[in-house]
């Protein structure tokens, strides 16, 4: 961001240019186009806006260059001095931002003018070339000296000029940087002052608010004190409400709060009237409930009494029916109908009303009824068909070798009498036998302790008191002297019954088939 300094680039360039225009102009004579071209070319970059790399600006005058005292007459020099003369200058094309270095047209520029022999040829052409050569040869030593002298001068100059350039540049840069810093400083000051102003205004606003608030509170509290005294004065003096309203605007905060809180609590939290109503409703409700419960209790009692009474009456009736024989007859007065009484006893009347109890046999429970239900295999009692089914009425015996109808029907409706094998359960006999054996073992054991091989195993055994030996009063005889009651004189046989009878199929059919074989005649 370099502001365009007032282009000092011109003067040094001009300075230099003026130092070097001689040979340049000399080269320009040889190639008239070249300086013009050079100048033209140089104008371009100049117009681009001022490079500070101090490009040499073309001379305003192009054609005629006065021979400078330094260079003497314009003499074309070899390429090398020209080249070294031109070296300190920054090359034309190497400026920043420039494009390719542009060679002046024709190659003659300050890079290197045309070599002497070319120039010579371009310029002259005729005339004694040998003479020219001799002349040139004569000039050669002087030329060398001249060259050295020029270089030395230039070298001495160069240092001075270099230092000068550096000084100028540093001063200039310093100027620019200082300007920049000044500028920055100005900016910073601007921002900071704005910001600080803002902060302090904020703070100020806050302070003002609090001060205002404190003032207000003090004012209100003062008013409250004043108000209380004033109000008491006013109520005592009976001033009307209008004047009171006037003061409401200046009521203190505390007053307002007091009133509001009292109102709120009385209305919503401890609403006295609502509570009162509620309690009244509760007592009314309680009365109703108590009455209802009283009625219920009375009803219950009545029911109970009634039930007891009915029960008693039923008892009496039953007794009367049982003792119906105590009824008095025409001849003999019964117990309850004493002739000395005015009217018969109520029992007598009861006896008269009641029907005698019939000698109905009590329902004897058949000994088989329950047990038959309990047999695992037989779940219904065997129905013995009671009575024979009646034969059909008035049927003529059908012709032919038919049996008697009654017999047929009897056979047809004979109930199922399954064989033992069918009636037995589905489980295989092997399973049953196994279970049976296990049960038998379990049953027959006196105790379940297994036999232990050595007596040392029994050492730490605790003796279990058997219950039927440890009675309260010593040993009991039950379990030792006698077990169940046993009456051998009632036994039918001396041996035990066999538990399972083998079934003989033929014998089971006995009496159940049509054929009469085996029947006793």
């Amino acid at each position: 961001m370099n502001p365009a300094p007032p282009s000092p680039g011109r003067s040094p360039g001009r300075l230099r240019r003026s130092a070097h225009t001689g040979p340049g102009a000399g080269g320009g004579r040889a190639a008239p186009q070249a300086p013009a071209g050079r100048a033209r070319k140089r104008l371009g970059p100049r117009q681009e806006g001022g490079r500070h790399h101090l490009s040499p600006s073309p001379a305003p005058h192009r054609q005629h260059r006065a021979p400078s005292p330094l260079t003497g007459p314009r003499r074309p020099l070899g390429p090398s001095p020209r080249g070294c003369l031109c070296r300190p200058r920054s090359p034309h094309g190497a400026g920043p931002g420039r494009g390719r270095p542009r060679l002046p047209a024709g190659g003659a520029g300050w890079y290197g003018p045309l070599p002497w022999w070319r120039r010579r040829r371009a310029g002259g052409g005729s005339g004694g070339s040998m003479a020219a050569l001799a002349r040139l040869r004569a000039r050669l030593p002087a030329l060398r000296e001249e060259c050295f002298r020029r270089n030395r001068c230039v070298d001495e100059d160069r240092k001075i000029k270099y230092k000068a350039a550096v000084k100028i540049q540093s001063w200039f840069r310093g100027c620019r940087v200082r300007a920049y810093l000044r500028h920055l400083n100005k900016m910073v000051i601007c921002i900071q002052k704005r910001w600080r102003g803002y902060q302090s205004r904020r703070y100020f606003r806050k302070i003002v608010k609090t001060a205002y608030f404190i003032m207000k509170m003090n004012f209100y509290n003062e008013m409250a004190v004043r108000l209380k005294s004033v109000r008491s004065f006013w109520t005592e003096s009976g001033v009307n409400k209008g004047r009171m309203w006037h003061l409401i605007g200046t009521l203190s905060a505390l007053e307002i709060q007091k009133r509001w809180r009292g109102y709120y609590v009385r209305k919503y939290i401890h609403n006295y009237y609502a509570l009162k109503k509620y309690l009244e409703a509760v007592s009314v409700n309680n009365e109703i409930v108590r009455n209802e419960l009283q009625e219920y209790a009375e009803m219950n009692e009545k029911e109970k009494k009634k039930k007891d009474q009915e029960k008693k009456e039923k008892e009496k009736e039953y007794q009367a029916r049982k003792m119906h024989y105590l009824l008095s007859t025409e001849q003999i007065a019964g117990i309850y109908n004493s002739p000395f009484r005015k009217s018969p006893d109520p029992m007598e009347l009861l006896l008269r009303q009641s029907k005698p109890l019939s000698h109905r046999r009590q329902q004897v429970k058949s000994p088989f009824r329950d047990e038959l239900y309990d047999w695992p295999t037989c779940t219904r009692p065997p129905t013995f068909h009671a009575g024979e089914s009646l034969p059909p009425i008035g049927r003529q015996k059908p012709q032919g070798p038919f049996r008697d109808t009654a017999e047929v029907l009897r056979q047809r409706y004979m109930p199922l009498e399954p064989t033992l094998r069918v009636a037995a359960s589905i489980d295989s006999p092997l399973e049953k036998a196994r279970v049976e054996m296990k049960r038998g073992e379990w049953r027959n054991h006196i105790h379940d302790n297994e036999f232990l091989p050595f007596s040392s195993y029994h050492k730490n055994e605790k003796y279990d008191l058997s219950i039927h030996r440890s009675g309260k009063y010593g040993q009991e005889t039950y379990g030792i002297k006698h077990f169940r009651e046993v009456q051998p004189n009632k036994w039918v046989t001396g041996k035990d019954f066999q538990t399972v009878l083998p079934s003989i199929v033929l014998f089971e059919k006995f009496g159940k088939t049509y054929s009469r074989c085996g029947q006793i005649v």
Partner: protein
Amino acid sequence: MSLLRPLLLDVVPTIQQTAALALGRLANYNDDLAEAVVKGDILPQLVCSLSEQNRFYKKAAAFVLRAVGKHSPQLAQAVVQCGALETLAICLEDFDPGVKEAAAWALGYIARHNSELSQAVVDAGAVPLLVLCIQEPEIALKRIAASTLSDISKHSPELAQTVVDAGAIAHLAQMILNPDAKLKRQVLSALSQIAKHSVDLAELVVEAEIFPVVLTCLKDSDEYVKKNGATLIREIAKHTPELSQFIVNAGGVAAVIDCIGSCRGTVRLPGIMMLGYVAAHSENLSMAVIVSKGIPPLCTCLVEEQEDHIKAAAAWALGQVGRHTPEHARAVAVANVLPTLLSMYMDTHSSEDLQVKTKRALKNILQKCTYLPALEPLLHDAPPNIMKHIVGQFSKVLPHDSKARRLFVTTGGLKKVQEIKAEPGSLLQEYINTINNCFPEEIVRYYSPGYSEILLERVENYQPVL
């Protein structure tokens, strides 16, 4: 035992049943015998054959299991370990109601002991079957099923929740109307065991619309029905103020008060506690108790009952009623119950619990009591820690009420206050000073002890001016 064991496997079924019955009766009588039955290895046999045999055998075997299981948790555990629970649960599905009853009874006795056994019964899947049993028409079966459900649900909230999830509450609530007294006892006990555990369960019970029907149970002729009904209402009322409010709105407080008035003995206890719980929740409810005329029965309970724990409960309830505001304390004090409380506190024969409860009740009531005529009699025989509350109350009321001051003097209270010895700087001394400052100096001096001697001394030392 070794003789009965083979009989269990007898061929004749009647013998089997009779043997089982005998075993059951033996085990029922004594727990040593029950232990012998267990040791004799009979239970596995019973359990095995239970599944195959007929209903009489099943009844007898269930009777044996019940008899063994009822004595102690260890025996019940032995029964459970035999795998009896599954078999009993199968018996619950039997057609015969007698079998169901015996099985339910056995399960109930097993579940009664502790929560692990109850959990084992529940894990055997007995609860839905019991709920089905409740719906059966036979009364005995209903009774036993209700009692078993009550025993299961009393141990923990999870068990109660299991019972509730099986849908028991609706059926139990319907059975409250049944006229049979013993059934009502069990049903009310079951509902109260369910409701006691948490607010949600109590709300579920209330949602089954037992109010106001359950109030009729409080008027039943059977004592235990009344007691269990009061227990149920107490378990519901103790959880939250909303539930108590609901009960008050349904007229429950009046019914309970009548119930207390009509019973004697431990039957009253749940009713007293219920009033205490209701009054403890808030001052409006306490006022509702007072308005329903609850204080006189509580006072009569306090005075009449012989047992200390009932007296303690009555004292506690009175404390809860009177502790809220001066109005409440006045209502309690007017019933002339404070001297009774004080005498109970001072009585050396009272149990510690009773003393603690009366002291707390007295303290709570006295801190709010501004009814001075009731406080006067207490001045004379209160111990120091109670005295400071009484004197404190006087010191609060006397500065503002001139008539009360006059009464205070005429009834001899001021004299009594002067006689109290208090350490200087203690709270009691401050109260006494406040009271003394309410009166003119002459009268304070007049009543101070030893004043007559001082006066007489002055008389003696007086030199008459001739």
